[in-house]
Amino acid sequence: MSRHAMSARNAHRVRALAITKLVGASIFLAGCAKDAPQDVFQPKGENAADINNLQYMVFGIAGVVGVIMTVLFVVTMTKFRDKGQPIPEQSHGKPALEITLTIIPALILSVVGVFTFRGVFDLAETKDTELVINVTGQQWWWEYDYPVQGDWGIDKPIITSGQLVMPAGTKVLIRETSRDVIHSYWIPALNGKRDAVPGRIHTLRLHADNPGIYAGQCTEFCGLSHGNMRMEAVALSKEDFATWVTNQQAAYKEPEKDSLAEQGEAVFLNQCVRCHQVNGLKKADGTAAIAAPDENVYAGAAPNLSKFMSRNTFAGATWDLLKKDCRGNVWDAKSEEFGAKYLEGVSADCLNEVDLRRWLRNAPAMKPMYADPTKLEPTDGKYRGMPYLALSESDIDKLVAYLLTLK
């Protein structure tokens, strides 16, 4: 081989090595990301901490085993590679070595198994539950309803969506199910994941040490907009949670007479109430306006919009109801200030009107949904997700004004 050819080959090797190092370093450093709300190594509650302790132990043991095996592999490959030497004497098995190599992994797995089983049983414990929340998955959003629980001042069921509001420092039990396909509920900072299966009730413990917002994501592929099926758990201090409960149970406030919001209420009654319930809203004849999503939506339910502006997100927690700076003001608030800021809800100044208007103008354009009437045959003409409603800009103005009153 010529000197030039050898030089070119070395340069190629150096370049390949540099690229490998760069990629490896990038992957390694990605683990150090600070703004990673769904990082499984940053537990914010006792259940997630149990999992984290277990995974540190398992990854530690697996890491040591991995390093030993890699070193042995590399040494064997280099030391005993074919250099033209004669084939050494062959022996059929070494019982002592084989027994040792069976016992060592068995011992390691036994240790891991003991801690894993203990963790599994701890995480399945429900006797110490302090608050129950029902969670129902649907393409592509989560519904939360709070059964009557006098100890928490919940005298009448509360229903909301997008954001699960819970008291911090409390053992919360969520009871999951699904209306259509299998979904999976996962707030990594608060616990592991649990499938929501139609026709079944599965339980999952949640516990947040401190007030704050904890992000999550549906982790079972559930159709077209699976990637847009997000969730947020909002932990409030017990006092702030009591305030939130009181507000959620407060009676419906009619919009001011002759206001744009009042016209928006009429638009809502004409268009939106077919699927969306607002508790306390009355029709022109004075009877309760009861939504009939079972007649229009395949899964039979749509988000209840009572107290809509007390939430920070909409459309399956995919878009913020708050402008960016207002959102940062809540998300980045100190623990002791967080509750007060969250309970402020969405004001007219902080409302992310751009996304909300886009959504009202043409929801399927923002979030992929089965909104094409020609493709609804398998669902008997019922939609999966919100359809295009052909609202006029005037109607959208009125609706935005009305929605701002739902607080």
């Binding site: 429900t126 006797k127 539950t129 129950v132 029902n134 129902t136 519904e143 309803d145 059964p147 009557v148 009448k156 069921p157 509360i158 229903i159 039990l173 009871r175 199910t177 699904s178 209306r179 299966v197 139609p198 026709g199 079944r200 009730i201 599965h202 339980t203 319930q277 508790n279 009877t287 309760a288 009861i290 939504a291 009939a292 999503p293 079972d294 899964a299 039979g300 339910a301 209840n304």
Partner: protein, 373 residues
Amino acid sequence: MITTGSKYFYGVTALATIAMVLYMVLVNPNDIGAVALGSLASAAALLGGLTSFTRDSTAHTAKEAVAAAEQPAPAAVWPLIVAIGIVMLVFGIATNPIVFVLGIVALVAGGVEWLVQDYASRASSDSTFNSQLRGRLLHPLEFPVAAAVIVGIIAISFSRIMLNISKSAGAVVFIIVSSLILVVGFLVVLKPNMRGRAVGALCSVGAVALIGAGIVTGISGERAELVEAAEEDHYSHMACGAEADKYFDKHPNNAVSLKSATLATITVRDGKAVATLSGLDTPVETVTIPRSNNVQVLFRNMDTEEHRLVAELGEKTVADTGVKEKVEQCTQLTSEDQVNVLTLNIPKSSEAAGPYKFIVPGLEGQEIEVYVP
């Protein structure tokens, strides 16, 4: 070369192909019928090819073929079966579909047997070889079909007997028959010399007795309580009030899948109805059910008296008449220590009418409120 035997298969191939084309043009090109006819054509073509390739497995020379053809055809019952099949088929069109189906079965079975036997009897000049050839072709078909028919006759005869006699007599008959089978089995094992004709005679006597009893009891009909229970048609008029039927299933829900991961359990004990939620050990006073979702509610009766769980789900307006009627769902009447499952799917919120209710008829003041947000 197209041999004598392969002509039949090529003929079937041609007919099936023509039938498939006609079916696709005249009936439905995408229907399973076209697939079936295409499969038949392919299978017959394959068999025809194999038959040609093996030169009918028999006569290899013109001399041998002539000698084979000179063999007189053995006596066969199959032409008679085919004739009976045709008569039954025509008669069945005019009278009863079962006769029609039996006619088709007789026609097809008789036709296949006739064709194969005729083919095998002329395969060579050696009648033993011809008989073996017939067996090789038809035994894989005949034995399973015969076994299925025999098992079917035994099952039908036995079921007619058991449906006719009383429950207690049924248990006795069952014990006697199974004991007899066990004894005969032991005798066959312990006395090998008994095999052969004696076993055949025993089986024949048993079969005749069983079939005879089956025919007699089949004509006699089912026992009175089964007739009455069928006339009640309990499931078509599920009553949520007092049980009107004499015969109903008190143990209907034993499916484990229904009983796991339920929404709530309602237990009646000492005259009180108590609700518990899965995942919580303490009783609750109200139950919240997500709307438009299938949920299972377990009903457990621990009292000696029979009870049922009723879900009162408001009212609905009947479309044609405008009359309002109660919406109710309920379990079967449940006896002591039994569990029933109520599957609910409530599409309408309880927001307008106030909470729905779980009640247990016969227990006053034991309502459990049901919210559907």
